[in-house]
Symmetry: C2
Subunit: 95 residues, 2 copies
Amino acid sequence: MALKDLDPLLHSQLRLGVMSLLMSVESAEFTYLKEKTNSTAGNLSVQLDKLSEAGYITIEKTFKGKKPLTTCKITKHGLKAFEDYVNTLKQYIGK
Amino acid sequence: MALKDLDPLLHSQLRLGVMSLLMSVESAEFTYLKEKTNSTAGNLSVQLDKLSEAGYITIEKTFKGKKPLTTCKITKHGLKAFEDYVNTLKQYIGK
DNA sequence: TAAAATAGTTTATAAAATAAACCAAATTGT
DNA sequence: ACAATTTGGTTTATTTTATAAACTATTTTA
């Protein structure tokens, strides 16, 4: 039996990191995700859009005073995808 | 504390698959790896070279009769890298 | 003996990640 | 007061990576 494919949307360090962080919080701000993932704003922006387009997260853009505030949450679909990814990954890393 | 970086050489479905397979056998033939990873010969050839250049595996090219026979083994260094990768990954996937 | 299969390698292309350049508003320094 | 820097991003360009396509050499099969 051959190895199963890993969801390519999740098999990316930055996107996986974002999803991982969103798993354990109600919601997270752009700046928080940027710090925790050690990413550049540009890269993070692009990857968040991809996760959003896949329906794995929702992105809400508001303002804190007059500064933009971007808030992200994982969706039910995203949660399922994350869990499936982790299960598939176990085939690769054992246990 | 930010998320740690994942070894980019291992964070690739095909290369991770190869390493995973090599973890559990003494050695493996090109054709076996090709089947188990569901990859094309071209892609596999390229990725094996990368693993070899990093010192994660050794590649021995001999002949079975007059057909080429490529045999791969994981190295000590590769084993260590794999284990480190798995440990880092736990930061991402929990547990 | 021509056609197809095996076991690959090399090279070209597509897709992805990353970085660089940019924008608008707010804050800091002089 | 006003230039310079910082904050919070987006958009676009570049680099890197993965994948696919084309090719080579030998061998087997029809």
